[in-house]
Amino acid sequence: MNDRYDEFSSGSVPYGQMFPDMYGEDAGGEAEQGYENKPRILLMGMRRSGKSSIQKVVFQKMSPNETLFLESTTKIVKSEIASSSLISYSIWDLPGQVGYESNPAFDNEGLFAQTGALIFVIDAQDNYREAIAKLHTTVLRAYEINPEICFEVFIHKVDGLSDDAKTVRQQDIVEHVLANIADAELEDQIQISFYLTSIYDHSIFEAFSKVIQKLIPQLPTLEQLLDILISNCCIEKAFLFDVVPKIYIADDSSPVDMQTYELCSDMIDVVIDVGCIYGMGENDDTGLGYDAESASVMHLNNGMVLYMKEVTRYLALVALLREDKYEKHGLIDYNVEAFKNAVAKVFEPRQ
C-alpha cells in the first residue's frame, strides 16, 4: 500500500498551494516549468464576475460568505491542483479588467496554446451585454490559436434569481452567444457548454466536475470500471470523487440525480470534518485526516446506505445502495478493493 503512495506523491503538489506569479505583458516565457504537461484551465470573465471566488470556494474551501472580502485580482494567479499523478491540472485566474484577447502586446499564444478548458464567467445579476461581447472575442482568439480548447460558460451568481429569471437569463445568454458564433460562421467548429452556477450551492461543484471530466483521458475506462462495480454489487449509483474540491471525476453511466449527488458530495464533508478532528497523525501531509484506511458508512432511514471508501490518495468512491444489498458488506468491501486496484492500474505512470 505504502509504495503506491510514494509513487503518487512524487512531483505532486499539495492542494491549496498557491503560485502567485507576476505574469504580465511578456507571458509565456520563463518560469513555466511544471506547468507545461498539465492541462490548464483558464478562468476568465469581466471584473467582479466571481472568478476568484469560484477558485477559492472550490479549491481552497473558502466559505462562500467570506468571498465578499476578496480583493479584485490584479495579476494572473496560478494554482496547481494535483489529486494523483495523472489527474492534475492548473487553474489560472485571470484579472477581468485586462483585455488580453485584444491586446496585441500580450502573448495569447502562450496563454491559450496549452489550455485544456476556458471557463468564462458571466455575472447573471449584472448587465451581461459587455461580457457576451468579450466572451465572443475571447472564444474566437482562443479558437484561432488552439482549436482543441473546451469552451465552458458559467452563468454565475444565479442564487439571487428566481427559477423563472434563471431560465430567461440562460436562454438570453445562450441565444446571443450562439448567434455571435453563427455570425462568425464557426457554429460547426466551436462547441460551447453552458452551466448555471452559484457558489452557495452544489451547482458550482457540479459544473466544475463536468469541466474536469472533459480533461481526463481515462474517463471512459473509469466509467466502465464503475459500471462493472455497480452491477456486481447492486449499487444504485456510484461516484469517484476528488475529495478536496469535492469534484467528481467520474460516475457510472446511469443518470445523475441531483439529490443523490448532493448526499454523496456532502457525505465527504462530514467524513473530512470528523477526520480533521480525530484522524490527524503527526505526519499527515494532506491535513485532511484522509488516508488509505479512510472509509465511512451511513445508514439512512429510507432504507438506503451510503458507502465511502478511499481509492487513491485524493480519490474516494462514494456509492448509494439499498440496505438489503449491504448485508453482505464483506463482499462489497472485497469488490471495492478490486476496483481500487484497477483504478490504481489505470493511473499507473506508463513505463
Binding site: 466559505s63 462562500p64 460568505n65 467570506e66 442564487d159 452557495y200 439529490q259 443523490t260 448532493e262 448526499l263 456532502d266 457525505m267 464533508d269 462530514v270 467524513v271 470534518d273 470528523v274 477526520g275 478532528i277 480525530y278 484522524g279 490527524m280 497523525g281 485526516g289 484522509y290 488516508d291 488509505a292 484506511e293 479512510s294 472509509a295 465511512s296 458508512v297 451511513m298 445508514h299 439512512l300 432511514n301 429510507n302 438506503m304 478511499e310
Partner: protein, 300 residues
C-alpha cells in the same frame, strides 16, 4: 418543565436568525429573508423530551424596547431562567446598546435575580480573523464591568461557523437540571467501551449536551464543529426526504460511531483502536440505551 428564555438585543442584531438556525433548521443564507420581529414572538421548543424552552424572541426596535421596560416590564422580566442578550459587534450605536443592556439588567435584577445571563457578541464574521480575539476580549471585559453583581457568560458568535453551536450548547447545558448524574453515567460508559471520547448530542438541534473524555484532545472546539457539520448534513438529507440513522467514519487512526441513542439524543463514540468492529460498538450502544433513557429524560 418549562424554562423561560428571553432573547433580547437591538433590532437586526441577529436574534431571530440564530434562533431559526438552531431550532428551525434554517441554513445561514436563508436568514436574509427573515423580516424584523414585531413585538415578542413566542416559540416553544421541546428539548430532550420534557424540557420545553419557552423562547421569547423580543423585537429590538426602540419603541418595543421602551415598552418592555415600562408597561410590560413585569410580564417580560418575571420568571426568567435565562437571558440571552445579542450584541451586533459592528453596531454604530454602541452607547445606545449599552444603555438598553443596562436597563435590561436592572429589570432582571428586580424580577428574576437568579436568571443566568448570556451575552453573545454576534456577527463576528465581519471582523477580520486576526482581530477577532482582541475585539471579543475587549467587549467581554466591558460587559463584565457593566454587569457587576450578576454572573454573565460571554460568547463570540457568527451564524456562518460553529461558534453559534458553542454558545447555544452552553446555554442549553445550563438549563439541564440533572446534568451531573448524566455526566457520571457517560464517564462510566466511556470507560467501559474503552473509548477515547463519548459525546451526547440532542437529536433535533445537534447541540452538545454532554461529553466524557478519556484521552485529551488538542482542539477544544471540536464538538461544535461536529455539531455544525452534522446539522448541515441533516439539512442536506432532508432535501432528499431522508435522515441518517447511523454514521461510521474511520481511517487508520480512529473510528467514530454515531448512532441514535435515547429517544431525544444521538451518541458519538470515538475509538482510537480502528480494529474495533462496528458490530461490537453497536451492541454496546444498544445495551446502554435503555439504561440512559432514565437519566436523559428530565423529571419534574
Amino acid at each position: 418543565m418549562k424554562s423561560k428564555v428571553l432573547l433580547m438585543g437591538k433590532s437586526s442584531a441577529g436574534k431571530t436568525s440564530m434562533r431559526s438556525i438552531i431550532f428551525a433548521n434554517y441554513i445561514a443564507r436563508d436568514t436574509m429573508r427573515l423580516g424584523a420581529t414585531i413585538d415578542v414572538e413566542h416559540s416553544h421548543v421541546r428539548f430532550l423530551g420534557n424540557l420545553v424552552l419557552n423562547l421569547w424572541d423580543c423585537g429590538g426596535q426602540a419603541s418595543f424596547m421602551e415598552n418592555y421596560f415600562t408597561s410590560q416590564r413585569e410580564h417580560i422580566f418575571k420568571n426568567v431562567e435565562v437571558l440571552i442578550y445579542v450584541f451586533d459587534v459592528q453596531s454604530d450605536t454602541k452607547s445606545d446598546d449599552i444603555a438598553e443592556y443596562t436597563s435590561c439588567l436592572e429589570a432582571i435584577r428586580e424580577f428574576s435575580p437568579d436568571a443566568k445571563v448570556f451575552c453573545l457578541v454576534h456577527k463576528m464574521d465581519l471582523i477580520p480573523v486576526d482581530q477577532r480575539d482582541a475585539v471579543f476580549a475587549e467587549r467581554s471585559e466591558e460587559l463584565q464591568v457593566l454587569s457587576e453583581g450578576l454572573s454573565i457568560a460571554c460568547h463570540p458568535t457568527s451564524i456562518w461557523d460553529e461558534t453559534l453551536y458553542r454558545a447555544w450548547s452552553a446555554i442549553v447545558y445550563s438549563l439541564i437540571p440533572n446534568i451531573s448524574v448524566l455526566e457520571a453515567h457517560l464517564e462510566n460508559f466511556c470507560e467501559m467501551c474503552e473509548a477515547d471520547e463519548v459525546v451526547l448530542f440532542e437529536r433535533a438541534t445537534f447541540l452538545v449536551i454532554s461529553h466524557a473524555t478519556r484521552k485529551t484532545h488538542h482542539d477544544e472546539h471540536r464538538f461544535e464543529k461536529i455539531s455544525n457539520s452534522l446539522k448541515s448534513y441533516k439539512l442536506c438529507c432532508s432535501k432528499s426526504m431522508t435522515q441518517f440513522d447511523s454514521i461510521e467514519i474511520r481511517n487508520s487512526k480512529f473510528a467514530a460511531f454515531l448512532d441514535k441513542f435515547t429517544s431525544n439524543t444521538c451518541i458519538m463514540v470515538i475509538m482510537s483502536d480502528p480494529t474495533v468492529s462496528p458490530t461490537a460498538m453497536d451492541i454496546n450502544i444498544q445495551v446502554a440505551k435503555s439504561h440512559f433513557e432514565a437519566y436523559v429524560s428530565i423529571r419534574k
